[in-house]
């Protein structure tokens, strides 16, 4: 098995399953966390990720799940053979207006199913055959709360701002426009206004 990525949360291996190229995503123990807490977090996220990947598929493209092993905190899924949006934006292979609208539309659909991703970054979106796939649903939740949906947008917005500051404005304004849900967007404004420096 070939290790293809070692991230903060998990290690990804490439394998095959019934002739299909697969990714095995394994959440390794974290030495900095005490064992009881660490095990709970890894198990919970593994189970929840597989479940949310399936649920989200009604709104966005996500990889197929072939198997799950909670004990080892491992999920076997389809490999999406494409390129992350992060790399594509850095290489200027993305049209900012189009991409912003595309993500906005997908988030609108996802949120209308009462699903939030909670960790959306341009590294967690892959373009393959001109379509966008969302991955990494470890922190994803079922929720109908406006606050949670606004927070989901905020996480992505802040990531865009810090990582792709040159493209930020164009992508974000188009994303917002296409997303369209006024209630959520107004809540987002409110969250951003909440004073964080009132007490030190």
């Amino acid at each position: 098995m070939e290790t293809i990525y070692k991230g903060a949360e998990a290690t990804l291996y490439r394998n095959t399953y019934l002739g299909q190229k697969t990714i095995e995503k394994e959440r390794k123990p974290k030495k900095y966390r005490i064992e009881e807490l660490d095990k709970k977090i890894r198990e919970k996220r593994t189970i929840s990720e597989a479940r949310m990947i399936k649920k989200a598929r009604k709104a966005v493209k996500t990889p197929y799940i072939f198997g799950i092993d909670p004990e080892k905190s491992k999920i076997t899924m389809e490999e999406i053979e494409g390129e992350t949006l992060k790399k594509r934006i850095e290489k200027e292979k993305e049209d900012e207006e189009k991409t912003g609208k595309e993500i906005g539309g997908l988030l609108k659909k996802l949120h209308s199913l009462d699903i939030v991703h909670n960790d959306l970054t341009t590294s967690n979106i892959i373009r393959k055959d001109n379509e966008l796939y969302f991955i990494d649903f470890g922190l994803s939740e079922k929720t109908s709360k406006t606050e949670d949906k606004a927070m989901d947008l905020l996480v992505f917005k802040k990531m865009l701002k810090s990582t792709h500051w040159k493209q930020f404005k164009e992508i974000w304004s188009n994303l917002k426009e296409e997303y369209g849900n006024k209630k959520v967007l107004n809540r987002l404004k409110k969250i951003e206004k909440r004073a964080r420096y009132t007490v030190k």
């Binding site: 903060a8 030495k31 900095y32 966390r33 005490i34 807490l37 970054t121 927070m151 420096y197």
Partner: protein, 324 residues
């Protein structure tokens, strides 16, 4: 060149003196709420700063073995912070500037913490975990500014410790007391664990932990609280580490004194082949030395006019660093 730095953004009135090479004085006086167990009352804190500033400055000058007239530059932390407290520092800076006919450099309080940390540890381009009473941010430098990768979405981590400590009837500051209690705890009880991308939220955890659970000892509760909150913090830092691929991690701010947090960060950094750094203890909490030192670094920003900037974000500070 000798720069006098003034810190008055919250509880601490700090006066430090620095040369480009080293800190030569770092004195302070810390405000304590009149009513025990209560949080900061901005006007009371400002009054404390007003009454103690001259004395603290005298002590700093004595430590540095110099006269007031030898000061070449004034630096003041004019934000972010509590407006009444900031005003005291800024007014003091203006008065000294007029009296001594020297310029004033505005210093962003958070940048002060980072710069002194880099000086103390030799870290060049670190991922920064800045943790204090009201601030919890994961930052790193990119194209002339500190970018915020992750931060708290509600209260600062120090305040979270304090709020929880209050529910156990512990006196302020609560952080060190919780840490002590946690060392004796053994049994881990599950508590809300909230991370969103690289951001954090503490209020759910604080509320749940503060519902005094009768079946749990104070020690176990403190242990569970501390393990949960610090794991959340280190987890988002790890995400930023993987994302930015930085090879240094700098922990700074008042909560950097927490030894369990140091231990966790060290383990995490090791897994990413990164080095781990913490400033000297006296430079972790709010202090004047960091403002003085940072003032020299950014001396080209000096002028005669200055105003407070209570909600100043770290990523709004231009880092036009010129060779000294």
């Amino acid at each position: 060149m000798k720069c006098l730095g003034i810190e008055s953004t919250a509880h601490t009135l700090g006066i430090g003196i620095s040369t480009p090479e080293r800190v030569i004085a770092n004195e302070k006086s810390v405000y304590k709420p009149k009513e025990e167990g209560k949080g900061i009352i901005p006007r009371e804190a400002a009054e404390h700063h007003r009454k103690t500033k001259e004395k603290v400055m005298e002590r700093a000058l004595k430590k540095a073995n110099m006269e007031k007239e030898e000061i070449d530059l004034i630096a003041v932390a004019n934000g972010p912070g509590l407006p009444p407290c900031l005003l005291e520092g800024v007014e003091f800076a203006k008065k000294l500037s007029k009296e001594l006919n020297v310029k004033i450099v505005p210093v962003n309080h958070c940048i002060g913490h980072i710069e002194i940390g880099k000086k103390d540890t030799g870290a060049k381009d670190p991922l920064v975990q800045y943790v204090s009473g009201g601030n919890t941010q994961i930052l790193s430098r990119s194209e002339g500014k500190y970018r915020v990768y992750g931060e708290t979405l509600d209260i600062g981590i120090g305040n979270a410790f304090d709020k929880f400590a209050r529910s156990l009837n512990l006196k302020m500051p609560g952080g060190p007391k919780i840490m002590k209690l946690a060392e004796k705890g053994k049994k881990y009880e599950k508590l809300p664990y909230t991370v969103k991308g690289m951001d954090l939220s503490f209020s759910g955890l604080v509320t749940e932990a503060s519902k005094n659970k009768e079946e749990m000892s104070k020690e176990d509760l403190a242990y569970s609280f501390q393990e949960t909150i610090l794991s959340m913090l280190v987890e988002v830092t790890e995400r930023a580490m993987a994302h930015t691929k930085k090879k240094e991690l700098l922990l700074t701010g008042g909560v950097a004194l927490n030894t369990r947090l140091r231990e966790m960060n060290e383990k995490m950094a090791e897994e990413h082949d990164a080095s781990f750094h913490v400033p000297k203890n006296e430079h972790c909490g709010d202090n004047g030395a960091m403002i003085a030192y940072t003032g020299i670094k950014f001396k080209e920003k000096a002028g005669k006019k200055i105003d407070i900037n209570p909600k100043w974000r770290t990523n709004q500070y231009e880092l036009k660093i010129k060779k000294q």
